[in-house]
């Protein structure tokens, strides 16, 4: 089994397993990938790439979505 890695996720440090794709990360959080936009190290990912991009140690990841606003 792989070593855990450390990422910053939505502003908080978090330990995750090292073999996750971004898609895996989203699903593991019980979120729907088609409703989430991902910024990884200040670059926005295309949704089609979620499954192909792996989460790396030290990544700063922002998962954002639409909320109510005026």
């Amino acid at each position: 089994m792989s070593e855990p890695i450390h990422i910053q996720l939505n502003g908080k440090d978090r330990e995750v397993s090292s073999d996750l794709s971004v898609r895996d990360l989203i699903v593991s959080l019980d979120l729907a990938p088609e409703m989430i936009v991902v910024e990884r190290n200040r670059a926005i990912l295309r949704r089609d790439d979620y499954a192909d991009v792996s989460v790396e140690d030290g990544d700063v990841i922002e998962l954002v979505h639409f909320v109510g606003g005026g």
């Binding site: 200040r42 926005i44 998962l63 639409f66 909320v67 109510g68 606003g69 005026g70």
Partner: protein, 262 residues
């Protein structure tokens, strides 16, 4: 829309909108009330904010659980941003959602009053327009800033009636009329509308649309107020198109003066 309505429909950035009323989705007591109110408003264009998923309690927040993007046109805003860079970042996150390349640009210049930063808004508008966005820019009621935003490539310019959430209505109709008269792109009054007559009066200044949120969400009965706003915007538009009678300091009888009995 009937064909008559379509002929007078709001068009921004080559997209036709079913209503000249645009509404926000913030500050509702519940998602059910929000959805009912938005439906009652008749609005097609509905603003949403881009925020981090709250990893503890995301389900309730996600607006896409409540608003069907097939039914409504979701317009991401950059509310909460204080610099041009920050606003550009949020705009791009909003676009990456895959629904639209429209953005409601909002760059706040002062935390207390939530008034926009004219210079930073112009800068961000230029960057975003160059990047292919259809920018609908929230701004103050200054004509010169509005002209600069149009020059920067905005698809619509959205001057405030009064500060966000104040409900004071249009404080300076002279400035709003000047902006409408001088700009070629659509002018939408955004922020400060408090009640239906404010929205009606705004439309009577000749502007192309009204965007509001608190006036509905903060009413005692949001769904009924949403309906009032729908009617008020239609009333104001029809009134402006009909061409009002002149106001005058004198009285003019509406019944005939001749034919009185002896």
């Amino acid at each position: 829309m009937t064909s008559t309505e379509r002929a007078d429909a709001l068009v921004v950035g080559e997209r036709t909108f079913a209503s000249r009323l645009l509404v926000g989705t913030g500050k509702y007591a519940s998602n059910d009330v929000m959805v009912d109110a938005i439906r009652a408003s008749g609005a097609e264009c509905v603003t949403v904010s881009v925020r981090r998923v709250d990893l503890d309690r995301s389900r309730e927040e996600a607006i896409l659980h409540h608003l069907d993007p097939e039914e409504f046109f979701l317009l991401p805003n950059t509310a909460g941003c204080y610099t041009a860079d920050e606003a550009v970042r949020y705009a791009r996150l909003g676009r990456a959602s895959g629904f639209t390349d429209f953005v409601k640009l909002e760059v706040i210049g002062d935390q207390e009053t939530l008034l926009p930063d004219p210079q930073a808004t112009i800068e961000a508008a230029r960057v975003l327009a160059d990047d292919g966005f259809k920018v609908m820019a929230y701004t103050n009621d200054d004509l010169v800033t509005a002209l600069r935003l149009e020059d920067a490539g905005c698809a619509a310019v959205m001057p405030l009636a009064s500060p966000i959430g104040s409900g004071l209505g249009i404080v300076n109709p002279h400035f709003i009329r000047q902006i409408k008269r001088r700009l070629a792109v659509p002018v939408i009054v955004d922020a400060g509308i408090g009640t239906a007559s404010d929205a009606c009066f705004a439309m009577e200044q000749g502007v192309d649309g009204v965007l509001l949120n608190s006036a509905i969400a903060g009413a005692d009965d949001p769904v009924r107020m949403a309906e009032a706003m729908r009617l008020a915007v239609d009333a104001g538009r029809a009134s402006w198109r009909a061409g009002r009678m002149p106001a005058r300091g004198i009285a003019v009888p509406s019944s005939p003066e001749r034919g009185m009995l002896a």
